[in-house]
């Protein structure tokens, strides 16, 4: 029963979150967008206290149920593991208990905390389970969805219907596809063979939640009187956390999947509330019964877990404080604060709502949700090593359109804060620079005012100009105080291969 509920909930969230990455029309975000925002790491990065408290409470009550019904990467591994268990009976009970890899877990968590604190975004992005799933979904599932959609679009076009329209099929950057591919293959092998290995050893979110889960109210408990030590539960546990001989369940790894409860033929495992005192007494007796080294191992584990938890809490506080300070700066100094230590390369442009290059850099975990959501295909994953896979704006033939705020609506981590259309129209993310040597009006005397006519901010005026051969021409002049850096001029400039007017990104966005 409990297992069935878990599977139904998992199926629902998995489908819904996957849909977020597949749906290019933006329709699902309105009512499913919250699913990305309740992921733990995005919640921490965006200092979403409500979600964090709720998830902590959830874990303190039910254990690592988050990993079973909320985390899409966890659910994906469950699906792969389930596929790997099908067939012969031998396959169905192929797992076995393994000792906790505490050292590895702590190291990974520390690496993660350091990466977030220092803003080594590539590492954060690689380790974050939600963003790993996001990349897999957007690189491999989305193209399939797009292909099917395009098939429907072709049929619709023949039938004269406007229900479907074609979309871009392939991923927007090879680097992301490669990273996602490696992640998927590695996870698939691990999950197929051993179930939740990644969650029990590497995943930093799992480690944090595992620490909390140890003190959870509800937990699976083996009834020693009914248990015949048949080991069925142990061999069926994808988290390898049931030590059936000793009637021990490692709650820091248990993801509350309830599999063992339905597997047990003697009704010896129950998921029920266990009060602290009782648990402690029991644990004490259990450890006393078992071998001595086990007890000594348990102590440092708890200790490191606590440390990890405190670090995470500290990180959260730092993020929250930082967000506050930044908001203050934007208001008081008009955003003209320069971060000397982090100079941006030429024309690195982050989308409106991201506040600054630094904010994007520190908060983005490269889940690709915004990249998938961008209807104009201007938001693409960066190849720059220090911004690896984080989104940046590239204006080639398209630009950041005035009516669109899709990326700001979907971002779960606070890398791109939610903005309205009106706010967007006054956020300066860069400014246009005119390159006379490329401009058709300046070089060939073409009567062209494409840039000034299409500028949504009215920042470009046409002025008199004398060409090299002495002819009079009208060329664009940019009022950089009005320019918001949307790239309309650049995208619609007829000069090719390179536009004669191009946007240079600003490190700090500000309201004009």
């Amino acid at each position: 029963m409990l297992r069935t509920i878990r599977i139904i909930l998992a199926a629902l969230t998995f489908t819904a979150i996957t849909l977020l990455f597949l749906d290019f029309t933006g329709a699902t975000h309105a009512f499913l967008g919250w699913l990305a925002k309740i992921q733990l790491l995005p919640a921490i990065l965006s200092a979403n206290v409500v979600v964090i408290v709720a998830l902590v409470l959830l874990t303190l009550i039910f254990g690592r149920i988050y990993c079973s019904i909320i985390c899409p990467l966890g659910i994906m591994q469950d699906i792969i593991a389930w596929a790997g268990k099908r067939g012969k009976k031998k396959n169905r009970f192929k797992y076995s208990y393994s000792k906790p890899k505490t050292a590895l877990r702590v190291v990974m968590l520390v690496v993660m905390v350091i990466a977030v604190a220092l803003g080594i975004s590539a590492i954060t992005a690689l380790l974050a389970p939600y963003s790993a799933y996001g990349r897999i979904a957007s690189s491999f599932f989305a193209p399939i969805y797009a292909l099917v959609n395009n098939l429907f679009a072709a049929i619709a076009e023949r039938a004269g219907s406007y229900a479907f329209y074609p979309t871009e099929v392939w991923g927007k950057a090879l680097s992301v596809v490669i990273v996602a591919g490696v992640t998927l293959v590695a996870l698939a092998i691990l999950a197929w063979r051993n179930g939740r290995t990644y969650c029990s050893t590497i995943c930093p979110v799992g480690t944090v939640l595992g620490f909390l889960a140890k003190y959870s109210l509800f937990k699976p408990v083996i009834d020693t009187e009914k248990c015949t030590k048949c080991t069925l539960c142990e061999r069926g546990c994808k988290a390898a956390c049931i030590d059936s001989k000793n009637h021990e369940i490692d709650r820091s790894r248990c993801v509350a999947c309830m599999d063992c409860i339905s597997i047990c033929t003697h009704d010896a495992i129950h998921y029920k509330p266990v009060r602290f005192g009782v648990k402690k007494a029991k644990a004490a007796t259990a450890t006393a019964e078992t071998s001595a080294p086990k007890a000594s191992e348990a102590a440092p584990k708890a200790d490191t877990g606590r440390r990890a938890f405190l670090t995470a809490a500290g990180l959260l506080a730092v993020t929250a404080a930082e967000a506050k300070v930044k908001r203050g700066l934007r208001k008081t100094a008009g955003g003209r604060v320069t971060f000397r230590d982090n100079p941006a390369p030429e024309s690195y442009i982050t989308p409106p709502g991201s506040g600054s290059h630094l904010n994007m850099h520190k908060h983005c975990i490269a889940c690709q949700l915004c990249v998938q959501a961008c209807p104009n295909n201007v938001l693409v994953p960066s190849d720059r090593p220090d911004r690896f896979m984080q989104p940046e704006l590239r204006y080639n033939d398209t630009y950041c359109r005035p009516e669109c705020t899709a990326c700001s609506e979907v971002c779960p981590t606070g890398a791109i804060s939610k903005i309205t259309k009106e706010q967007k129209s006054s956020i300066q993310i860069g400014h246009a620079v005119w390159h006379p040597e490329l401009c058709l009006a300046a070089t060939e005397g073409v009567h062209c005012h494409s840039c000034s006519r299409h500028c949504p901010a009215g920042a470009i005026t046409m002025v008199d100009f004398q060409t090299a051969d002495g002819a009079q021409a009208r060329v664009p002049a940019v009022d950089t105080a009005k320019c918001i850096g949307c790239g309309a001029c650049q995208a619609l400039c007829p000069a090719r291969p390179q536009s004669a007017i191009r946007v240079e990104g600003h490190e700090n966005h500000h309201i004009i």
Partner: protein
């Protein structure tokens, strides 16, 4: 009802000349064939208390003997029309010294003087814009109107065609002292209502309206129809604005161009289809006449009727008058937008304009636009009931018909294609129009 009709007819017969009576049998039959015409003419009350028929008779064009536009006036036919009109309750006759090659006043004098003077109102104008606007010449024109019209008072006297500029208004009426004179004539009762007819700029309109406090205009004449209501072309002003300003000052209005030069009697097929679907037995022109009379401050709608069937149709329209309902006004507004803002582009797809240096698929653009206009897939306004559906259809269809990089936004208005177009389409201007429209849709702007 048919009894009343017959009585009316017999009364008319007694007044008509013998020659007219010979052919009047035909009128009788037609009158019976058109039962809608039975009923009471709609009257509106002027500031001086006149009960003016909502259908007014415009006397610029008259039936001709040879049927051509500028031929000699067929006096018999004209008298028959005027008699018939008076018999059916029409009592407002609008002429001017410059109408019908200068003959209109004289002819109307002949036609009207056969009826009791209290049966009709005469409107004529100070048409001094067409020549000498000295006081002497203007006064001569004024006095001549009395002679031509065989009357010793004029019910409605208009300063003809004001609005070109404030300067010309001042020259024509103020600096020469003419208006002073006309005001005195009003006091003396030889002019019963003093007003003006307007064509021109908003600035000048506002100026003349502002003079109301000083001169107390009795009425004004404006161009008013469902196209001009919100979509006035060229240097005209939206009649919704004119109406609002005048009605706000309690100045009643007479209406000229209710069919906008005939355009609203002969509309594109897709428009007429919509109107006929709504009211299958109504003429297309009746919609325009009903619209022009639907606003309460309209005193009279002038129609230059040269054919008996037009006169009869109009009498039927304004007898037991039925103003346009809210839904009908909405429909007409939609149609107006369609006619004024979304005209078809006469592209034949000859491809002479191609290739465009900047990659624009010019015939493809026009084909998509025309398809949407023709098939009624155009979201005419952001308030459209089906706006979302139509918007989607237009944008999705746009991407299907024209690749993104060949769309109107890529046109730089270099104009090199224009000279190649055998249809003389102003291609860059049309591209900008389409691009703006697409931007309206994409950005969800109100339009």
């Amino acid at each position: 009802m048919s009894n009343i009709n017959r009585r009316d007819f017999l009364k008319g017969l007694s007044l008509a000349t013998a020659g007219a009576a010979m052919t009047a049998g035909g009128i009788d039959l037609r009158a019976q064939d058109a039962p809608q015409s039975a009923g009471k003419m709609e009257y509106r009350t002027s500031r001086t208390g006149d009960r003016v028929s909502l259908l007014g008779y415009g006397c610029m064009r008259m039936p001709t003997v040879d049927g051509t536009r500028n031929g000699a006036v067929d006096m018999d036919a004209q008298m028959r029309l005027i008699d018939y009109a008076i018999e059916h309750g029409v009592n407002y006759f609008d002429t001017a010294p410059v109408y019908t090659g200068g003959k209109s006043e004289g002819i109307m004098g002949q036609c009207l003087s056969r009826h009791p003077r209290d049966k009709y109102f005469i409107a004529t104008k100070m048409s001094n814009a067409w020549g000498d606007f000295s006081f002497a010449a203007s006064k001569k024109m004024y006095l001549n109107s009395f002679k031509e019209l065989k009357t010793d008072y004029i019910d409605y006297y208009l300063l003809h065609a004001v609005g070109a500029s404030i300067e010309s208004f001042n020259q024509r009426f103020l600096e020469n002292g003419l208006l002073e004179f006309l005001l005195k004539e009003r006091e003396a009762g030889r002019i019963r209502n003093l007003g003006w007819s307007f064509h021109g700029t908003k600035e000048c309109f506002d100026y003349v309206v502002s003079l109301h406090e000083k001169y107390n205009w009795d009425f004004a004449q404006i161009q008013h129809n469902y196209l001009d209501w919100n979509h006035a072309s060229g240097r005209n002003v939206n009649s919704s604005y004119l109406y609002g300003e005048l009605a706000g000052r309690d100045i009643p209005m007479t209406v000229m161009e209710p069919l906008r030069g005939g355009a609203l009697a002969n509309v594109p097929e897709k428009v007429s289809k919509k109107l006929l679907e709504r009211r299958p037995t109504d003429s297309i022109a009746r919609w325009a006449f009903r619209f022009a009379g639907s606003q309460p401050k309209i005193l009279s709608v002038l129609s230059g009727m040269t054919y008996m069937e037009h006169l009869q149709d109009n009498i039927a329209t304004y007898s037991n008058f039925e103003p346009c309902s809210e839904q009908e006004l909405e429909l007409l507004e939609r149609i107006a937008r369609e006619m004024v803002e979304f005209p078809l582009i006469e592209c034949t797809g000859c491809n002479y304009c191609m290739p465009c240096k900047y990659g624009v698929d010019i015939p493809g653009e026009f084909a998509h636009y025309n398809k949407c206009v023709k098939e009624d897939l155009m979201p005419l306004s952001s308030g459209d009931k089906e706006y979302r559906k139509l918007r989607r259809a237009f944008l999705v269809g746009y991407d299907r018909s024209v690749p993104a990089l060949a769309q109107a936004s890529r046109c730089i208005s270099c104009g090199e294609c224009t000279s190649h177009c055998p249809q003389d389409i102003k291609i860059p201007a049309q591209m900008r129009r389409i691009d703006n429209f697409v931007e309206n849709l994409k950005q969800g702007r109100e339009f």
